[in-house]
């Protein structure tokens, strides 16, 4: 048995790559992942990825911001140290709208960003798990796990047929660790 771990099909054109995915799926070959230099719309449906739940997270964080702002202002200006400003009520809701809004946006944006980083395991200094250096430049790369799909020649033919310009049989998963 060969030491090839991953087979990478390089495409120059995103439409050819989508065609390649179709071809592989017709032949029941599982796709490990696809690396592209730009977002490809419709690829998640094809590969059966679920919708991202980040918007829900953003909503929850935003709501947290709203509640934080209102309770903070209420505590400070109404409960802890009410001030008599021309005999007007201390609970001056219209005045509290701008800051409540700003904190909603702030919490929503930052909460969602950190969730995004957490979900993707992004953090400064994380070793990039790059399978091919050109996947962030001009190549659309389909990665296939060679261990669970042990027919490299067939895969290579299918990819070439779909328009792959290059097929690599890599013995290492990530080239970036070299």
């Amino acid at each position: 048995m060969s030491n090839v771990k991953y087979i990478l099909g390089h495409f120059e054109d995103p439409d050819d790559m989508m065609h390649g995915i179709d071809k592989l799926q017709e032949n029941n070959i599982g796709i490990y992942d696809v690396y592209t230099p730009m977002p490809i719309h419709g690829i998640e449906d094809k590969l059966g990825y679920k919708r991202s739940r980040l918007p829900i997270a953003a909503f929850c964080f935003g709501l947290t911001g709203t509640i934080t702002a209102i309770s903070m202002i209420y505590y400070m200006l109404v409960y802890d140290w009410p001030m008599n400003i021309g005999g007007k009520p201390s609970l001056a809701m219209p005045d509290f709208v701008p800051i409540t809004f700003e904190l909603t946006v702030l919490f929503g944006a930052y909460g969602m960003m950190f969730t995004f980083f957490y979900a993707n395991h992004f953090f400064p200094g994380r070793a990039p798990r790059v399978m091919d250096f050109r996947a962030t430049d001009d190549r659309f790369v389909i990665a296939i796990d060679a261990k669970s799909n042990p027919y490299p020649d067939k895969i290579e033919d299918l990819l070439k047929e779909a328009g792959a310009v290059e097929v690599k049989h890599n013995e290492r998963k990530y080239v970036s660790y070299e």
Partner: protein, 490 residues
Amino acid sequence: MSAHNESILREPLITGENITYAKITKDILVPVENKPTKAWWIGFGIAVFFALTWVVAISYTFWEGLGVWGLNKTVGWAWDITGFVWWVGIGHAGTLISAVLLLFRQNWRNSINRSAEAMTIFAVICAATYIFAHMGRPWLAYWVFPLPNQFGSLWVNFNSPLVWDVFAISTYFSVSLVFWYTGLLPDIATIRDRATGLRRRIYSILSFGWAGSVKNWQRFESVSLILAGLSTPLVLSVHTIVSMDFATSLEPGWHTTIFPPYFVAGAIFSGFAMVQTLLLVARKVMKWENYITMFHIESMNKVIIVTGSIVGVAYLTELFIAWYSGVEYEQYAFLNRISGPYWWAYWSMMTCNVISPQLFWFKKIRTSIWASWVLSIVVNIGMWFERFVIIVTSLHRDYIPSSWVMFYPTAIDVLVFVGSIGVFFTLFLLFLRVMPGIAMAEVKLLLKSSSDQAKQKLIRDAKTDSEQAEFYQKSLEKFDSVSNKEYANI
């Protein structure tokens, strides 16, 4: 996405022949991957010189106190707040381009959003320096936040628009920074994967481990959309709140309900003018004519004419309402603006903001690079005068004639302002050297659908109506980056 063809009637967003994904990466990374050019060094040298004058002027201010400025008992806000509002206004175009135009699916934003966002961040930094400087005792700047303190705890007053502004500006800066940096991740990864040695290491840290996998992109798009949705009301709220610093006071000339929309329009107006000032130079020096095309320039000029006209209507409305209100203080404030000792500021504002942008109705002017650049600077000057007029001419003669005075800036006032422009350009030029000035991934998205080469191919393959093809090719005449040789035969 790439499978569908855009209508042939739409003007191209990428011009040039034989543009490939690799070429886009290469062209955009020229300033990042090569030694800086002479033009960059000259620009950077001038910018750093002015930035240093800012350091000197601001240090002197902190050392001596605010007495070194031209402020007096009547005019307590002058060049500092003028500079602050001017910079915050300039900042608005970046978020508008990246957020509002994203929600409206305006694809032409893709090649100008990154540098516009960077401009926003640097402009807001410049604005923030005025706030700190204006406090007089900047080491007590944390007093603006609701922190527990030894006074009992005496909290900040949330009824005050100045406190709203603290939250608005800091939220705006933070959210713009996130929006900008998240958008940069894929492009940083591109630089990382093309670099070697130490450069790779540095960009590797900055890239947060971006790989470009399906899930990365899916979440990225989701984040971009939601951030755009959050930033859109945010950008409108920020200048609204800045305008409330004035509008909630009882000062004649400030106490008007028209301020929020009028300030927001003015902010977009000045922001687009600054984007135009920067990008017209950048596209020439960096040779990005194929990505920032005449269509982009013309579109921005159209935004400038629309917002400039809104601002013009607001000026006239102010005058009318001042007269119609029957309030003599209000009437005098405006009479004083037009014909008082600061008449020249008012009329500079009127000329630069209302009259000269109307020249953009002429297509020849709108599509001329020189005219666009000169007018964009005229607009920036006009918008500075607008803030000066609002602030100083309202304050210097308000209610009691015995306290009427004139405001004269000192050399320090001038140096702090000119210096802040130097700080801005220093930051912007450094940005162009280390990060891609155009969002590469987003431009790549347009290559197959909205580029001139894709459209010419459609015409060549006779897949379009010949009348429409002719219309399309006629629209290319104004493009400085397309020559007739590239036209396909219809």
